[in-house]
């Protein structure tokens, strides 16, 4: 059995690319909890996790695989960090999970 994570139905999300003027700017991913009126700001690799989750349900392993290709690291090296992050998002009610 694998656990798949996705954004909860009461969550909105938005990717903001840096403006054309801001040559050194980085993209930012915003996640809003519509029930609790809370906004979470994701930077750095968090942006990739946010974008991956926005595409549909993902397991921690799948996210690690996607990030490992982008950042050229072994999936096993980052799997623990990703699981911690997903658990944190779950505890704040931004994500829902499903076992398949």
């Amino acid at each position: 059995m694998t656990i798949y994570y996705s954004f909860a139905p009461h969550v909105a999300f938005l990717l903001q690319e840096p403006s054309e003027k801001d040559l050194e700017g980085q993209p930012t991913f915003y996640v809003a909890h519509l029930k609790k009126s809370d906004i979470m700001v994701l930077n750095g690799t968090g942006v990739f996790v946010g974008e991956t989750l926005a595409a549909g349900p993902q397991s921690a392993r799948e996210i690690a695989d996607t990030l490992s290709e982008v950042f050229e690291v072994e999936p096993a090296e980052i799997l623990g960090d990703i699981q911690t992050f997903l658990d944190s998002m779950m505890s704040k009610d931004f994500l829902v999970s499903e076992e398949k």
Binding site: A12, F13, D38, I39, L42, E77
Partner: protein, 288 residues
């Protein structure tokens, strides 16, 4: 490699750009509309976007048009969810059409119970006409109900009619530059269907076609520079019945504390209220 840096709202709100916050707020309101079973159309601002407005146009709040029969329950639900009413419908503008509310996370929102210039005689019917033609546009991943493209452009024109020196309004000039004559003809036809011809004609410099309308003076007073007392007279004559006219006269004479508070950025003191009252009196005397 460091994994996701995230921060909760408390320490990061200042870093959320206004445009991002407003786009997320649209998603919030669509969610609330579902919870509160209210028919809500997102209008103007970022929801209309570049198919209606010039590309560089920015916005500072969210505007919602709510079915008149749903508006009280919707507003009560929002207050329960932490929104503060900055101005009531009655104190919001001379048209008494919108209430401004504020939330520390989502920012400012104008809740419209009708759209000035559209469906004066029956706002509920006008809302239904707009609602039946609605479309959905995605904001922060959430499909939000908004007016059809034709109705959106018509709303922009009608909204522009409430501007002094209306013929130079940038939003209307943009539509004049980008839309063909066939689209303008469709818009005019739609304005007729929505009981909006008076405001539509005002926006295009043809107000004089409506000299006999009971609302003529009202639209003249918001689209051309006129003395304050002309607008006050227009407000009194716009409403029907002695009771309503007395109410408007009392409103004009009294201090609009909500409006004054928004100008000052804080609730007015007795001294500030007094100063405002006398400045208004001076205005009246000077213009006569």
């Amino acid at each position: 490699m460091s994994l996701p840096t995230d921060s909760s709202l408390g320490d990061s709100l200042a870093h959320v750009p206004l445009e991002v916050r407003l786009r997320l707020a649209h998603a919030y309101f669509e969610y609330q509309a579902g919870l509160l079973a209210a028919d809500v159309l997102h209008i103007k601002g970022y929801i209309f976007g570049t198919d209606t407005y010039p590309a560089q146009r920015t916005s500072s709040d969210v505007d919602l048009l709510v079915r008149p029969s749903h508006v009280d329950a919707f507003l009560a639900g929002l207050v329960k969810d932490g929104w503060e009413i900055l101005s009531t419908f009655e104190s919001g503008s001379i048209f008494e059409h919108a209430s401004t509310i504020y939330h520390p996370v989502w920012g400012l929102c104008d809740i419209h119970r009708y759209f000035p210039g559209i469906g004066y005689e029956n706002p509920e019917v006008a809302f239904t006409q707009l609602w039946e033609e609605r479309r959905y546009k995605e904001m922060a991943g959430v499909p939000c109900a908004t007016t059809s493209l034709l109705d959106s452009r018509l709303l922009v024109v009608v909204h522009g009619a409430r501007t002094i020196n209306v013929l130079t309004h940038p939003d209307i000039l943009h539509l004049k530059e980008t839309l063909d004559s066939e689209t303008w003809a469709q818009m005019q036809k739609r304005a007729g269907e929505l009981d909006a011809l008076l405001a539509y004609d005002t926006a295009l410099g043809n107000l004089e076609k409506h000299r006999k309308s009971p609302y003529y003076l009202m639209w003249k007073s918001v689209s051309e520079p006129v003395p304050a007392y002309v607008q006050w007279w227009a407000r009194v004559t716009r409403v029907r019945g002695l009771k309503n006219r007395v109410r408007v006269i009392l409103q004009i004479a009294s201090i609009n504390e909500d409006s004054l508070a928004m100008s000052l950025g804080h609730r007015p003191s007795k001294q500030e209220k007094r100063a405002w009252f006398y400045s208004r009196l001076r205005k009246l005397v000077a213009k006569r």
